[in-house]
């Protein structure tokens, strides 16, 4: 892997925990999916949650954003997130990019982005300055994703899968999130597009110090940009640590992540 961009946080002292998850249980009706997981993410870090199908990765994100009810404790900068509605969680600066993108297909690209700024509506004296700020953020997002600018008047449904994923992430950035939750951004995308997408996520993280939790099946890519990683199996964390270490752990990598250690050494 010559394309490694990450600086290793392994030796540094842990930054203060920004997102703190402990003993999180969640599920759907009778089906329990998460059986008490706990991890923490430092401010400005990228955290990858890896694991096979059905391990509970998506459920973890949904519990964080309030889309499913969870038991236990999830705090963001000291504020309890559990027991809130998704819209309330969004108000606290948590932007969730759901699995399968969830773009609004009949709206144009720009309208999609403006929905992202929905919560930034202000009345009275601050209305104008906020409108200017939203316009600036549109430019910022177009800066990260120039393709979106080209297609700003086009219906989101007519974009390619990669562009839609960019739009979904761009829309989340319009919220000016403190915490960005990405649910399998690589789903159904060509490897080259995915790589580009992850590079941009990394750039956003570096430039804006946005804390990111990314759920991925493509462990290799996620580990390339992440600082910390957690491996989930049947609703329990089986491995946590700095991304580098997880990658180096040959056995775990082979068993859970499907990364061939031999191939890695060769590359």
């Amino acid at each position: 892997m010559s394309g490694q961009v990450k600086d290793s946080p392994a030796g540094e002292p842990m930054t203060e925990a920004f997102l703190e998850v402990s003993d999180l249980h969640a599920g759907y009706g009778q089906a329990r999916v998460l059986h008490g997981i706990g991890f923490s993410v430092g401010r400005g870090e990228i955290c990858a949650i890896l694991g096979p199908n059905g391990a509970g990765k998506t459920t973890t994100l949904r519990a964080l954003s309030g889309m499913v009810k969870g038991r236990g404790s999830v705090t963001l900068d000291g504020t309890q997130l559990l027991g809130r509605l998704p819209e309330q969680t969004a108000r606290l600066g948590v932007a969730h990019v759901p699995e399968g993108r969830g773009t609004f297909n009949d709206l144009t690209v720009e309208e999609n982005l403006r929905v992202g700024a929905y919560l930034r509506h202000r009345r009275g004296r601050r209305a104008r300055s906020e409108r200017v700020a939203v316009a600036a953020d549109l430019e910022r997002v177009y800066g990260y994703f120039p393709k979106l600018r080209e297609r700003s008047r086009q219906a989101a449904g007519s974009l390619s899968g990669g562009e839609q994923q960019m739009l979904a992430i761009g829309r989340a950035l319009m919220l000016r999130p403190a915490l960005l939750l990405l649910d399998e951004p690589s789903l159904g995308l060509a490897p080259l597009v995915t790589r580009e997408l992850f590079r941009i996520v990394r750039t956003v993280n570096e430039e804006e110090r946005t804390t990111v939790v990314v759920v991925e099946q493509n462990a290799q890519l996620a580990l390339d940009i992440a600082h910390q990683a957690h491996v989930l199996e049947s609703g329990r964390l089986v491995l946590s640590g700095p991304a580098d270490q997880i990658r180096q752990d040959g056995q775990v990598a082979e068993v859970y992540l499907g990364i061939s250690v031999q191939a890695r050494k060769g590359g």
Partner: protein, 365 residues
């Protein structure tokens, strides 16, 4: 909101064509009552009146993605509110309009609450129940509503300085209300609230995690929608001067929904086209087959939906697209007379708006 800022690549002709078209249409609308017989003017008044209900219904069904089979009942509530006020309290006509609007808004808000938990067919069923039980209820409270005999109330009289006949005055009143309604709905949809509504229709959970308050917007969409039905009902009382429970049967609710779908869901002009359909096509059906007009009406609905799945407004948009493409093609060939291979002739650099997926909120034409 300034989503229109980026329409810099709109064709050059559009800059003067749009205000000109607006001017011509306005002039035509104002001139109409002077050139047509009173009966024709009355029919046009009814078209405008139906356009008000359908614009409100469009907000709920077209943009909100919910179904109401009870809008005839909201219409009836608006009509009866105005009629009872005129009958009992001899208020001025103008006073009835805000009362009918506010009453229906609150009633709609009440119905919006089940809309939070129910959706699709289940919600349709609840609203259907409203449409079913309202006429018998109106018959029951005879001392207020006049029972099945209904109420006859005076129509608004034109002020003498206008020199207008009654039908012309009613036409202008309705025209004003309809114009304001369409403008309000259009601006509403272009605003933050409109985007929130569309986002909910497209993907509820994605809208939710962006911070859109689902319950608030869903209930409000229902309330607005009911309010416009109430406004139209009030106009109905003004125009007809008579209300009875049988004028607001379940059939009315269904006809309204059918009219909206035929006119074009989630389209700015759909309600107008749908209103014309609701007004004129039953008469046409009567002319074609006096024995079974319902059959002809039904067949015409099927025909329209088969030929234009996105409604009459969709058909009009497609026609406009075709004309525009033709014009562009002509301009293209005139500018470059040398025969270029068709493969080289790439289209204009800007993406063509998609006829079927383009959101109605852009309002390009």
């Amino acid at each position: 909101m300034s989503t229109g800022e980026l329409t810099m690549h709109a064709s050059r002709t559009a800059r003067w064509a749009r205000p000109l078209a607006a001017l011509v249409i306005t002039a035509a609308l104002i001139a109409t009552p002077y050139y047509f017989a009173p009966f024709r003017v009355f029919q046009l008044t009814m078209v405008l009146l139906y356009a008000v209900v359908l614009a409100g219904l469009n907000l709920l069904v077209g943009y909100g993605g919910q179904i109401s089979l009870g809008h005839g009942a909201f219409f009836a509530v608006g009509a009866y509110t105005a009629a009872v006020m005129l009958d009992r309290f001899t208020t001025g006509h103008l006073a009835t309009l805000p009362v009918a609007a506010a009453g229906c808004f609150l009633l709609g808000l009440g119905f919006g609450v089940p809309a939070l938990r129910l959706r699709g067919l289940y919600l349709a069923l609840v609203t259907l129940a409203f449409a079913v039980f309202l006429p018998p209820l109106l018959k029951r409270f005879e001392h207020v509503t006049g029972g099945s005999m209904g109420l006859t109330v005076p129509k608004p009289q034109p002020p003498s300085w206008t020199g207008l006949a009654e039908d012309q005055w009613l036409y202008f009143l309705t025209l004003t209300v309809a114009a304001v309604t369409l403008l309000v709905v259009r601006n509403l949809l272009r605003s933050r609230v409109g985007r929130a509504l569309l986002a909910i229709r497209e993907n509820e959970s994605a809208a939710e995690v962006m911070g859109v308050r689902l319950s608030f917007h869903k209930a409000l969409a229902f309330a607005w929608s009911a309010m416009f039905a109430g406004v139209a009902g009030c106009l109905y009382t003004w125009v007809i001067g008579f209300v009875s429970p049988d004028s607001f049967s379940l059939n009315l609710s269904i006809t309204l929904l059918a009219g909206l779908v035929v006119g074009g869901l989630a389209s700015v002009y759909g309600p107008l086209l749908g209103a014309a359909f609701v007004m004129y096509v039953p008469n046409l059906a009567q002319d074609i087959s006096p024995a079974a007009p319902g059959v002809v009406f039904g067949l015409l609905i099927i025909a329209v939906m088969y030929l234009a799945p996105t409604g009459l407004a969709g058909l009009a948009a497609r026609a406009r697209q075709g004309v525009r493409r033709c014009v562009e093609h002509l301009r293209h060939t005139r500018r470059r007379p040398e025969p270029a291979s068709p493969a080289e002739q790439t289209g204009p650099p800007q993406p063509e708006p998609q006829p079927l997926t383009a959101p109605p909120t852009i309002g390009k034409g």
